[in-house]
């Protein structure tokens, strides 16, 4: 199954081919157009061993291109009962099924539709895939009039269509910003994926990390000693750059703060530089914090599986905070992790009455907006430090970078963190240029690889979905010479690297705290000549002359 195919490779796709998007709908009506599993546009299914480990239904070998998906015999009953149960549980689902008037305000807001032209990637039609079944079996008009009332019978091809299109939605919620009713397609996709999971239909790029996360505490399956080694390597690099050896507190009881970050920061560049940034910042301000090997990932691919799975993976955060006896929790730069922490954690696994309202030990600021969850975002923490003048920063150390900022879907749209990152960025670099107004803040475009879709076998959809964002990056690249895209999300840092290399070559991706750390003037540091990427921080002259500019 694994192994390189040509459609896994970026080079297989020619930009001129992807740019000629055909927006004409197919000849046949949408209900009569069967789904086409074209390589490069769908994800490999979950391997049975992971489903078994997690106790999920119907583990088996199968492929979406198979005629027979080996569904359980009573699959139809399972789905209909599943829909009924969720209609009772989720007001959002019930209302979103009922109120859509199909006005089409959302239609051209989806990055997959913009870059792909498939009408079923219009959020309205994506929801309609499920809504048509709802009408047929759960509304009076649909029961009597059937297709005339927009209903259709639940059949195996419908399930196949769900699988294809609910795993072509990144749950970014851009469409919901434009919907006059506030219909949130992400919620519909989430329910759709929950229903598919009842039949054992899920994708390996989600379910393998979920299984890892359940066992080792993080999606990458890093075991405790491995995490320690990783952070030690980072400390080595930091020492090389700054001459300072930072301490790495692990599973320390009695620390003030538990720090939780997405595990993507441990594994792959450029996230690793951001992780080094956290470590340098905490060292410099003398924060009494701890990492945890058990709560070693704030990210939660359970969100892309089911509400139940999200709760199962999230439980470790409060449990570990309680065990270690910390006062409050701080979270790193991650996207969907913050959707879970902000929107669900307190409700699912709270109340966190054993913690205190987060208060910065450096500035004394009480973070009242997190008084129930007891967890704040590191960008909020850093912005507060800068505001109170507690950090010595030299933005000129980032002078080679011309920076733009990509609002990650979840922090921007789910949490509303829009100003803090910009405040921090303006204080740590001298060249900051915004992308066009309709592509940032709450209208930000998705990276094209969120919600568990950022894998290589899905490359065509990732490149297509990344087109709107890539296009905006290219715009500021041409206009202002931007060469660095900042994002506070681990998935962004991974997938936007591909997107930028393809649509705006020359622009590299970085986290905010990488730049913070580069600009941070640390006590007792040696003269900084290289940044965390081991690149020179000033222009290298052809003939090196000792010429120091103030």
């Amino acid at each position: 199954m694994a192994g390189a195919h040509k459609f896994d490779q970026v080079e297989y796709y020619k930009p001129e081919d992807l740019l000629t998007v055909d927006y004409r709908p197919p000849e046949t009506g949408w209900m009569d157009t069967p789904v086409d599993f074209r390589p490069g546009t769908w994800l490999y299914p979950g391997k049975p061993k992971y489903l078994e480990y997690l106790g999920l239904p119907n583990p088996r070998q199968w492929s979406p291109t198979d005629e027979n998906w080996k569904l359980p015999e009573n699959w139809k009953e399972i789905i209909l009962a599943g829909i009924k149960e969720r209609l009772g549980k989720y007001r959002s689902f019930k209302i979103f099924m009922d109120i859509c008037v199909r006005c089409g305000a959302c239609a051209d807001k989806c990055h997959f539709y913009i870059g792909g032209g498939d009408p079923k990637n219009m959020p309205v039609l994506r929801a309609e895939l499920l809504r048509s079944v709802y009408r047929n079996d759960f509304t009076i008009a649909g029961k009597i009039l059937g297709r005339l009332a927009g209903g259709r019978e639940l059949t195996v091809p419908v399930i196949k269509e769900w699988f294809y299109y609910f795993f072509q939605c990144t749950e970014c919620r851009r469409c919901s910003v434009f919907c006059p009713y506030g219909i949130d397609t992400a919620e519909i996709t989430m329910i759709g994926r929950e229903l598919l999971n009842l039949l054992g239909l899920n994708v390996n790029w989600v379910i393998e990390p979920v299984a890892n996360c359940f066992r080792t505490g993080n999606h990458l399956g890093i075991q405790p000693h491995g995490l320690k080694d990783t952070l030690d390597f980072f400390a080595d690099d930091i020492e090389e750059v700054t001459g300072i050896r930072v301490k790495i507190p692990m599973n320390q009881k009695g620390a003030d703060i538990l720090f939780v970050t997405p595990s993507g920061d441990f594994l792959a560049d450029p996230g690793t530089y951001t992780c080094m940034g956290y470590m340098m910042l905490f060292h410099e301000i003398g924060l009494n914090y701890t990492w945890s090997t058990y709560a070693s990932d704030g990210g939660n691919f359970g969100l892309f599986t089911s509400h139940e799975m999200m709760k199962r993976l999230n439980a470790k955060i409060y449990a570990e905070a309680k065990r270690l006896g910390v006062k409050w929790i701080m979270g790193g730069e991650c996207g969907h992790m913050w959707r879970v922490m902000h929107q669900y954690m307190d409700t699912m696994n709270g109340p966190a009455d054993f913690l205190e309202v987060p208060t910065s030990p450096i500035t004394g600021t009480r973070f009242e907006h997190a008084r129930s969850t007891k967890m704040i975002h590191i960008v909020e923490f850093t912005a507060d430090l800068i505001k109170h003048g507690k950090l010595k920063l030299d933005p000129s150390q980032n002078d080679l970078l011309k920076v733009t900022f990509h609002d990650s879907c979840n922090p921007a749209r789910a949490m509303g963190i829009l100003e803090e990152p910009r405040y921090v960025i303006r204080n740590v670099c001298n060249h900051f240029h915004e992308m066009p107004e309709n592509t940032i803040r709450e209208k930000t475009f998705c990276c094209g690889g969120g919600a568990g879709l950022g894998t290589d076998e899905n490359m065509e959809m990732r490149l297509r979905g990344g087109l709107p964002r890539g296009n905006a990056v290219r715009h500021v690249q041409q206009k202002h010479g931007v060469n660095r895209l900042l994002a506070m999300c681990a998935i962004d840092r991974a997938t936007l690297t591909t997107v930028c290399d393809y649509w705006a070559p020359g622009v590299k991706v970085a986290g905010i705290h990488e730049l913070v750390a580069n600009a941070l003037v640390m006590k007792g540091q040696k003269e900084r000549t290289i940044n965390l990427r081991m690149e020179p921080i000033n222009e290298v002259d052809e003939q090196p002359i000792c010429e120091v500019e103030e």
Partner: protein, 94 residues
């Protein structure tokens, strides 16, 4: 008003066009309850519209918050105790 109370009184000397117009108005009135415009009420019901985004400030209680199977710290430590000790990471049970 006669129309609404189902006792229409027809004045004399009206143009035929008025009757056509009246029929269409009455049809629209009769159709309105089944039309998409009735979905307008949904604006006030939509949770993304009528709930404040204050989840970290205030605890929202879920009445059916069902218990789930989790991997506890004790189980985790049982899985990795030797490796944790070898790496110098503190453990609960020696």
């Amino acid at each position: 008003m006669g129309l609404v109370s189902f006792k229409p009184a027809i004045p004399k000397g009206l143009h035929w066009f008025f009757f056509l117009h009246l029929t269409l108005v009455a049809t629209l009135l009769a159709y309105f309850p089944f039309s998409k415009l009735m979905h307008m009420g949904g604006v006030f019901l939509s949770p993304t519209r009528n709930l404040a985004n204050n989840n970290r400030m205030v605890r929202h209680v879920n009445p059916w918050n069902a218990p789930v199977k989790v991997h506890t710290y004790e189980e985790y430590e049982d899985d990795f105790r030797d490796k944790m000790k070898a790496a110098g990471i503190p453990v609960e049970k020696e």
